[in-house]
Symmetry: C2
């Protein structure tokens, strides 16, 4: 059986947890606090970052490398799509959320509010948090724009783009930082993915340092 | 013929320029200043970021999406390797440089010193630059460590990991910010990749705002 070393609120770990379930694969979950740089994670990954997937003899680090490995090793259910065009569109949006959204929103809100507290380093930077709160609105507008034209973000099928976006939004939603009410189509998309069985374990995650926002596990938020 | 919209000193664009040449492909280069958010780039990429590859009808945004597209559409020369294990190792190191190195070094040195000047926003943050200069040493030690065990960074064959790492190091080298002399194996690796024909166009790049460091295009630096 595969083993996934993860942190419950790490968006990159969440993407892989969703991908595993959507592909019908199961993995034993090993919870890690990577910033402590202790235990098995340091031996598995020189960067001491999660997620790390152990698949028999293979140790796979970096969430995109893991997602690509799952596509290649378990191709039955593809999360990228079949045509070159569809795969490029899925990957464009994965990059959008893992790089651009992460830099403009996740790092500024989740990073400042929660990661600093968990790591016990510094205090939240209010200027960064204000920027993150402003930036998330542009991204919600873009999700709304995409979802008004398509059944899922990258096209008519659920893809890794949806899982990547939902993974990032979900950790911000835990903090109550997503203004869903102003972006109805984006909220409809999130309600749809939040209702999937693959999402259920994420809604049950709780960390000691902080309780989730009241609507976090409500499917009719 | 393919067209690549790029900026000469963007590390992500450089990775694709190298990948195209190493795969024996050619593309017309279109130079873009993406931060101006004007012209064709905005129509091609909603994020208005480079690189963007146009391959016949297909517009591909995000450097990892482009690299993956090139692997799938032009598989004759693989830059990832053939086994699942080799591909995972290549991708781990691509993620290392595109995410970790970029965050800990490229953003702090290149971003502060040059991007701010090009974009005409703010002044360089000296604390960030000090952190970048300290961090690059750990990464050079890691490159040295890898290169002492392997012929190239991800194994015995040149791979996308080498191109990704070299793309990041090359823009810092343009600024004279890489302390090669303290890391002899890393320097040997860089000398080897710098001598390849695929690298030559990068060594001829010049931007108006800043001349490169004296040794930038010297193969015996």
């Amino acid at each position: 059986m595969m083993r996934l070393h993860h942190h419950p609120l790490c968006p990159f770990s969440r993407k892989i947890r969703l991908a595993l379930r959507e592909k019908g694969l199961s993995a034993e979950l090993v919870e890690v606090e990577p910033w402590k740089r202790e235990g098995e994670i340091v031996e598995l990954n020189h960067a001491a970052e999660v997620p790390v997937l152990v698949d028999e003899d293979l140790v796979i680090c970096d969430s995109r490398a893991i997602a690509d490995h799952l596509e290649e090793a378990y191709p039955d259910t593809s999360l990228l799509g079949s045509s070159l065009e569809q795969r490029a569109e899925t990957r464009r949006l994965c990059g959008w959320f893992d790089v651009k959204f992460c830099r403009e929103v996740t790092d500024l809100l989740f990073g400042e509010k929660l990661l600093k507290r968990l790591r016990r380093v510094g205090t939240p930077n209010s200027e960064a948090m204000r920027a993150g709160s402003a930036n998330i609105r542009g991204h919600l507008a873009y999700v709304s724009h995409l979802y008004q034209q398509r059944r899922w973000l990258a096209g008519d099928d659920l893809s890794l783009a949806d899982l990547t976006a939902a993974a990032h939004f979900s950790v911000l939603d835990y903090l109550g930082d997503v203004p869903w009410k102003d972006f109805a189509p984006a909220r409809d998309w999130y309600a749809k993915i939040k209702s999937r069985p693959s999402f259920r374990p994420l809604l049950m995650d709780r960390i000691v340092a902080l309780r989730p926002a009241a609507h976090y596990d409500d499917l009719d938020f």
